[in-house]
Symmetry: C2
DNA sequence: GTCGATGTTTAGCCCATGCTAAATTTGCGG
DNA sequence: CCGCAAATTTAGCATGGGCTAAACATCGAC
């Protein structure tokens, strides 16, 4: 049975997570795209996320407002130092969750999809446990 | 490195998950509360989730609209058969994720909090892998 | 039966995240 | 330089999910 506890606390955390999930996804994607092609445009993000360019523009404006990104009218989108830190953190966490799922034995496809949903809800403690599991599972002879 | 793939697909799934997360949390909670106290009132859910009773009322009205719950004015909130099925499913999944996290070695507190965030993003395949891990980890001498 | 506490609903507000349509800017081909 | 295509922005709309204030219903105490 699941341990009894204060649900309101957990749910508040889950809701708070939601508020930052999209921001994290965006900074992660902006970072990716900048690495891949040198600069990031709204249209790149729109294609990446499968949403309209209008949605991207408005979301990016929130990132700018919150100090994660900067951009000039009709210019490319760049990350601030704060945004870069978040992107690095998100990227590292994403990779741990992804590799953890692979270690657990699921397919690459599933690991890829599930890691994107799960990554935002993994606490530091659980992330460390996942890392330990990866290290423990990876034997020296493994490729 | 994380395998390259169509991000827009994954993110669409993540967004679609969000649309049903709260509904699942609610039916799970309604089911819990009904089991505990025989009936579920809006105020019970408000306390559970730490939100206002107004928010609960409106969310429940969406559950009713979507066929998960039913209620009469000023009456208690009940689950439809469809809602009960979702609640059972969510409860089972939640417990697997919770026990899985415990098996992984995190604290009860963390397992409780993280499982509530993670449960909605776990595919069938990953859930099965978690179940296998629990079974594999649980030794006969364990309490 | 009335009153007050408690619970529910309604009205009205906010923000985030999605959309389309239309206006604007940019930048390239000619 | 002109014009067109592509990208961006603006305007306007929807839904979900949060809130407070105020109206309304229910129920137990008296």
């Amino acid at each position: 049975m699941v341990k009894s506890h204060d649900h309101s606390q957990s749910h508040r955390r889950v809701r708070a997570d939601h508020a930052t999930e999209l921001a994290e996804d965006y900074v992660e994607a902006i970072d990716d795209i900048c690495r891949e092609s040198g600069s990031c445009r709204a249209v790149d993000l729109a294609r990446r996320f499968g949403v309209s360019n209008v949605t991207v523009t408005r979301t990016v404006s929130r990132l700018v407002r919150d100090g994660y990104a900067q951009t000039e009218p009709y210019g490319p989108i760049e990350l601030t130092p704060k945004g870069k830190r978040v992107a690095e953190h998100a990227r590292a966490r994403h990779q741990i969750v992804y590799r953890f799922l692979l270690s657990l034995g699921v397919s690459e496809k599933t690991a890829s999809v599930d890691s994107e949903g799960i990554e935002h809800h993994v606490s530091r403690e659980t992330l460390h446990a996942m890392q330990r599991f990866i290290d423990h599972t990876a034997r020296p002879s493994d490729g």
